[in-house]
Symmetry: none
Subunit: 225 residues, 2 copies
DNA sequence: CAATCTCTACGTATTACTACCTAGAATAGA
DNA sequence: TCTATTCTAGGTAGTAATACGTAGAGATTG
């Protein structure tokens, strides 16, 4: 327990942690490891979300290190409550679920980070420090799960559009909002040629309108917003 | 400067860093600070994205710490190239831009993290360690910018377009690829009215073409892909 | 080398969109 | 209540896009 009036860590204040997990063993293990770390102090433990909220209200932890799956009140609900009732507390999720949905939900519920249980204790400590400083932390597996779609969505599959290069080029320019005349100028070809391309494109893609073309181009990442 | 052949850090291999920034002063400062950190080694520097790619190909850094705004080839483009050409290198963006668009784009371009230039050197080092271990790091400001909408994203915010409800409706239908006649039928109004709406919309948004309208609608979440 | 594909370009007619107006009815706000 | 806004609708003209053709030059390929 913290004492007052004597010399504590001078410059860096200790990060006060509330540990929440329904497995006593996990609780103990992590607690022991964290306690051995200077600058980190485990000020309390809880077995479920309900308890966590109560203890947090009393202890005012800096960081709440919490599991997701728990009885009584799971990490998701608990995170919601933390966001509303005790926004000062930074919630760091410690989970074994690598599921994207989970992670996104946790973020939306206000969690500041998400580490998988397979991380090293060093990494866990780094995560704690990060969220304490206001940052966001995702461990490798989590960030992968979280951003895999995100990042792949850049140029995912270039699914064979059936369009020729030239047609794609024309489509791209049209989708960007250029009129035929401008496209023609840009590609240094006749307006009629552009029209021909345009027609062929629409025929190939079975699209009728200009707006449809733009939508198509966006869907297929020929252009970006 | 690094030496070879003598005792380096034994268990933990050194994190080899390539620093990229177009400001020599920044380069020097960060480099000096990082060099003082055990476990981190600045193996090279570059002034722009182009150089960064070349040097990286040669030096094979673990982490590329890179600015966004640079001449010749900016961080965004460079990150793209890294993703494609040297995916082993983890790209950590060091930027002063707190803009959400920037951050999202960087992630989509394959960056493993994004730290604002106002972070402490301790935090920067933590970020480096994080991305090196495969994690994702966002500093406080960045994660805030990144997830503020995300968290709210239950209803993906509708920024005031200045359009009336009816105009939005028309715009939506147009953006979906409907021609005026279809819009008119859908809303049970005259084609002329749709045309009027269309004109007003274009005037309000300062957009000239139909394709532009679609793009606008997509950008502003009036419709989704 | 003939067949195919791609890119280029034009003709003609029709339809759609655009620009720039006016204007009435309904509604919301000061 | 007066006013501004919104939604409705139209006139007139010009510009752009579409539909449906044809067709030559150049590259690719079986």
């Amino acid at each position: 327990m913290p004492h007052i009036g004597t010399q504590d860590n001078p410059a860096v204040s200790t990060i006060r942690i509330l540990l929440v997990d329904d497995h006593p063993l996990v609780l103990e293990g992590i607690s022991a490891r964290l306690e051995s770390e200077p600058g980190i102090e485990v000020i309390g433990q809880a077995n479920n979300g309900q308890q966590a909220l109560e203890k947090a209200a009393e202890l005012k932890p800096d960081v709440v290190l919490m599991d997701i799956s728990m009885p009584v009140m799971n990490g998701l609900e608990a995170a919601e409550h933390f966001k509303n009732d005790q926004p000062e507390a930074r919630v760091l999720i410690l989970s074994m679920h690598e599921n994207r949905e989970y992670i996104v939900k946790m973020i939306q519920s206000g969690a500041a980070g998400y580490v998988l249980k397979d991380v090293s204790s060093d990494e866990l400590i780094r995560a704690i420090q990060t969220v304490h400083q206001g940052g966001t932390y995702f461990s490798a597996g989590a960030s992968e799960a979280l951003f895999s779609e995100f990042s792949k969505s850049d140029q995912p599959e270039k699914p064979d559009t059936g369009l020729t290069k030239r047609e794609e080029m024309v489509l791209k320019l049209i989708a960007e909002g250029k009129v035929n005349k401008e496209v023609a100028r840009a590609l240094d070809i006749s307006v009629r040629t552009v029209e021909t391309h345009r027609q062929n494109i629409k025929q190939k893609l079975n699209i009728q309108t200009a707006a449809g073309l733009t939508k198509y181009a966006l869907e297929h990442n020929l252009i970006s917003l």
